[in-house]
């Protein structure tokens, strides 16, 4: 028995279902009844119920690609701010992809305070200690570009089904973007106007993530900005 429709906005403590459902994120069960724990979109797939949060801080997960900022260092690596309650640990060998002889090499040549790094989360333990890898293709220190921070809950919308939204953003604007699951997005472009347009589009996605027809609206907006610039 469902008490809320698919994609309906629900609030913490709201009764959303009753019966033999499997409950995933954003919801909890008391006896036979299912309640939402966050403000989010009701999501029903067969017997599976979850609530997709419309907000909330980023929680690191294994396999996520994130954009971190160096906030501290120690003799064998760095601590990265991930815009999360939890920081990321990056050891120099996981940045360079090789064993580094700490007696011979000074790690400060690789990264400085405030540097921006694209990394993959290799592991998260039960104490939320996060280990990062930053040596794969597309990983490592980020140079240039504009960084935007949005709510990490809205990142799936920025990427879109099978990358559809990200494709629209890039091809229509002519800019290049890199998206971190932790809500940080890098934008590179020769045309400053279009870079700002992409920022506007990202903020639009963040505001309207819960609505439909968003990909088309974003495309229209960017096309309008492009034609106005000519």
């Amino acid at each position: 028995m469902l008490y809320a429709q698919n994609r309906e906005v629900v609030i913490p403590g709201q009764l959303i279902a009753e019966g033999s459902h499997s409950v995933y994120g954003g919801a909890f069960k008391e006896g036979n009844r299912v309640y939402s724990s966050v403000i989010g979109l009701m999501s029903v797939r067969g017997q599976d119920i979850s609530v997709i949060p419309l907000g909330g801080r980023y929680m690191p997960r294994r396999g996520d690609v994130v954009i971190g900022v160096v906030m501290d260092s120690h003799h064998s690596g760095w601590i990265l701010d991930l815009n999360s309650p939890y920081v990321g640990n990056l050891f120099v060998s996981d940045l360079e992809g090789r064993k580094v002889d700490l007696d011979k090499e000074d790690i400060s040549q690789f990264l400085s305070m405030g540097d921006v790094v694209m990394a993959e989360i290799r592991d998260v333990d039960e104490r939320m200690r996060v280990l990062l890898d930053a040596y794969g293709p597309g990983m490592g220190k980020i140079r240039g570009g504009k960084m935007v921070e949005i709510s990490s809950a809205k990142v799936p919308r920025v990427i879109g089904k099978k990358g559809s939204m990200a494709t629209v953003l890039q091809s229509t604007s002519g800019c290049k973007i890199k998206v971190g699951q932790n809500g940080r997005i890098m934008i590179w472009g020769d045309d400053q106007r279009m870079v700002n347009a992409v920022v506007e589009a990202l903020l639009m996605i963040e505001r309207e993530a819960h609505t439909s027809g968003l990909t088309d609206r974003v495309k229209q907006f960017l096309e309008k900005m492009k034609s106005e610039g000519k």
Partner: protein, 242 residues
């Protein structure tokens, strides 16, 4: 400040025209601040209250961190200009006690175990006071926590009841609080109808207490409706036309 009026209830109507079980005008808005992770603005009668939530976030100093849970912290503060006689800035004993009981009102609902070693900070600022500020603060904080995406078992709704001219009344004004005999703020979890904050000073017979708490809980239900509306309203805006 006027002296005590002869009667606080005349012909079943209170000084501001309300019946004994009527709430003051209530306004709630979610997501009013940019820096905070979640926020809410509440007006209950002349009370004007702002609540902000930061977190879950890294907890400093580190020795306060708990290995398996988030620490919930709450600070209630009155702006110097919020009251008749200017209040000197800084925490006083009353604010410290109120901060504690408000935190304890939320402890049963927040899923703190999902965020080991972190902190969830709730800040309540009273911008204008007219009795019932802690209840307004709780109503705002509940919306701010939800707005921040902090997982909870339920919202928390709060109101005060009291006794003036031997009549049990809901949602006291400052005059009713000053000149009445009893003040009892409560906070309730709307779903299970359990109480997470209860304070009382004054005089109730056991029978009066039962009536009072029933009236308070009905008041909380009305407030809960307004809290729900405020949260959903943020997502009911029509998308902008391209």
């Amino acid at each position: 400040m006027m002296g005590k009026p002869e009667k606080l209830i005349v012909d079943g109507k209170r000084l501001d025209g309300r019946g004994p079980d009527e709430l003051r005008p209530l306004k709630i808005e979610a997501g009013v601040l940019k820096r905070a992770d979640g926020s809410a603005y509440v007006e209950m009668g002349k009370n004007k209250v702002l609540a902000a939530v930061y977190g879950p976030r890294e907890l400093h100093p580190r020795h306060l961190q708990q290995p398996d849970t988030a620490i919930l912290r709450c600070r209630y503060n009155m702006a110097p200009f919020s009251v008749d006689d200017r209040k000197r800035p800084g925490p006083d004993r009353r604010s410290v006690e109120i901060s504690k009981v408000i935190r304890e009102a939320f402890e049963p609902v927040v899923f703190t175990k999902l965020y080991p070693r972190s902190g969830i900070d709730v800040f309540i600022e009273i911008l204008q006071a007219d009795a019932g500020t802690r209840t307004a603060g709780i109503n705002a904080a509940a919306v701010a926590l939800a707005d921040a995406g902090v997982p909870m078992r339920d919202l928390v709704s709060s109101v005060a009841v009291g006794k003036v001219d031997d009549t049990i009344v809901l949602d006291l004004t400052k005059d009713e609080d000053n000149y009445g005999t009893t003040d009892m703020p409560i906070a309730m979890l709307p779903r299970k109808k359990v109480i997470t904050l209860l304070q009382m000073d004054g005089h109730f017979t056991p029978e009066e207490f039962e009536r009072a708490i029933e009236m308070a809980m009905k008041g909380c239900e009305q407030i809960y409706e307004a809290q729900k509306q405020a949260l959903k309203a943020k997502y009911e805006t029509k998308p902008e036309e391209g």
